[in-house]
Amino acid sequence: MSINSQKINVNSNKLTQVILTSIHCSSLFTSSVFAADISFEIEGVNAQPSKIYAQLFNSQDSYSKGEAFSATYLQAKQGINKVIFTNIPVGQYAIRFFQDENNNGTLDTNLFGMPSEGYGFSNNAKPNYGPVGYQDAAFTVTEQQDPVINQTHIIY
């Protein structure tokens, strides 16, 4: 049966770099370009002590390459967890995330590359006999919305 799942691979060192870069970039944007905040709500998270790592992508290409426009993490708590991306320019975005349930800084997968820890995507997009594509998870940030709210349910 042909079933693949999207693999999220966030190396903790790279993530730190991405965060620093995005903070640096966004400080440049704030004064000249309209920017909104994205509030991303993840439902159904279990209680174990762990972090949720989330990546924000701004194009099909960067999504395919795993090159995040911005990334962040938060301490997971039971129930609804909220991830905020601030000062995001108008445009199209997609979010993917995983819960680092064993605190090893990476999304664990089984031997065929399918996630064995909680994960998910914006728009509550889910793999369906195949991986989640960028367009399934994509949403837009416009000048009319502030903040942009997107909701999803974690997949275990």
Partner: protein
């Protein structure tokens, strides 16, 4: 008819029933004839009661004492289990392939020269959810369900419908593409989808991987099995008799056939045999897209039981096999095995035809093939007369030279 055409024709026929005749005529030439699989099957069943094995089962069979012909030996007692797809229909939908139905466990208790039968649907997460919804909510590998929920992992649609084996004190109901399903031996109730290797060094690395439906139990009680990924990666398992993982590994075979049903073991090796299949991705339906090509040899991978790596490779003439019998190995490394060998993969597609009530004899044309793999890299093959399918040997001779060869042969051609 392919799935997309089927759904299109469903929509058009649905609309045409409320249109005037002239409009119906306009749309009719554009649409292929509608196939109502459920109606076709039920019409055929009325004429051919032998199709009963493919009929839909609505509910569990309560314990009942079976009527017997002949006598059962007084000292014969025990419980015999069988598993297979039984729920093929929900509402107006009938699955299009026989492999899609939800598993039902059949229990035959032999005691006091009587047999008490009981049949219990395996309450998998899929079955449970669909029973609650009173309709199919997931598309099957072959059957597209309108507004279906996403299939996030193979275990989302794991029907536990193919085989049943005893593991420790439990039963495992097996499927091709996902985890084993643990069932309480006495109550026949679903326990959980088994997380292989949990609480061991394997942690989550084996979670949700395919565990195929025809594992081999060797004379020591150890369980050997494989699971196929569409990429051609195959996971190999060596389990203790209680289900604990002793060893596991992955081999990359480049196989693109998307289906691998059975395998063999000798006392030293696993034999993974890749039939002459490829997938045509332009066709819809998991089984429909599996095609046969005589230019693709059947590849035999000889795998060390110790290292779970391929140590030798043979090529046989093109062929397709659902089930093998037994394999054994001479001291010098010559390997012998037998297979129910089909000339092509039509048997797989005929399991769609039979779901529409079409009875075709052509699905029983496998021949017993006796194959020898010589150490120098060549093979020899002997084809037995008659037809055969699903030869079995007792666990205590699996992988060993058989003292007596009795092929499961039928003379019906």
């Amino acid at each position: 008819m392919q799935r997309r055409q089927f759904l299109k024709s469903m929509a058009i026929v649905g609309a045409s029933s409320v249109l005037p005749a002239s409009a119906t005529l306009l749309t009719a030439p554009l649409a292929p004839a509608m196939v109502n699989v459920k109606q076709l099957f039920n019409d055929a069943l009325a004429v051919h009661p032998e199709l009963i094995g493919f009929a839909n089962v609505e509910r569990n069979f309560e314990p009942q004492t079976l009527s017997l012909e002949g006598r059962i030996p007084a000292d014969l007692h025990g419980v015999f289990y069988r598993n297979g797809p039984a729920k093929h229909e929900s509402g107006a939908i009938r699955y299009q392939h026989a492999f899609e139905g939800d598993g039902m466990l059949q229990r035959f208790e032999i005691k006091n020269q009587n047999i008490v039968h009981r049949g219990q649907f395996i309450n998998t997460p899929k079955f449970s959810q669909e029973q609650q919804a009173q309709q199919f909510v997931y598309s099957g590998p072959e059957t597209k369900i309108a507004h279906a929920l996403p299939v996030v992992t193979p275990d989302t649609v794991n029907t536990a419908n193919t085989n049943i084996i005893a593991v420790g004190d439990d039963l495992w109901a097996l499927w091709e593409a996902g985890s084993p399903t643990k069932i309480d031996r006495d109550s026949m109730q679903f326990q959980q989808q088994v997380h292989l290797g949990a609480e061991s060094k394997y942690a989550n690395t084996l979670q949700g991987l395919p565990f195929s439906a025809h594992p081999k139990v060797d004379p020591s009680g150890d369980i050997w099995n494989f699971g196929l990924h569409p990429s051609g990666n195959i996971v190999l398992y060596h389990l203790a008799s209680n289900g604990n993982v002793k060893n596991a590994g992955v081999i990359n075979t480049q196989y693109r056939g998307a289906m691998l049903h059975d395998f063999l073991i000798t006392d030293k090796h696993l034999l993974i045999i890749l039939p002459s299949l490829f997938t045509d991705k332009s066709i819809e339906g998991h089984f429909e897209q599996i095609k046969y090509n005589t230019d693709i040899p059947m590849r035999v991978l000889v795998i060390s039981k110790q290292s779970l790596t391929v140590i030798k490779h043979y090529e046989l003439p093109a062929g397709f096999v659902f089930h093998y019998g037994n394999a054994w190995e001479e001291i010098n490394g010559t390997i012998h095995f037998d297979a129910s060998l089909y000339p092509d993969v039509n048997v797989l597609h005929k399991l769609s035809n039979v779901m529409q009530g079409k009875i075709e004899q052509a699905s029983t044309k496998a021949k017993t093939a006796l194959i020898t793999l010589h150490t120098e890299g060549h093979y020899s093959m002997q084809i037995m007369p008659g037809t055969s399918e699903f030869p079995c040997v007792c666990d205590h001779v699996v992988g060993l030279k058989k003292p007596l060869f009795i092929p499961s042969v039928s003379q019906n051609q």
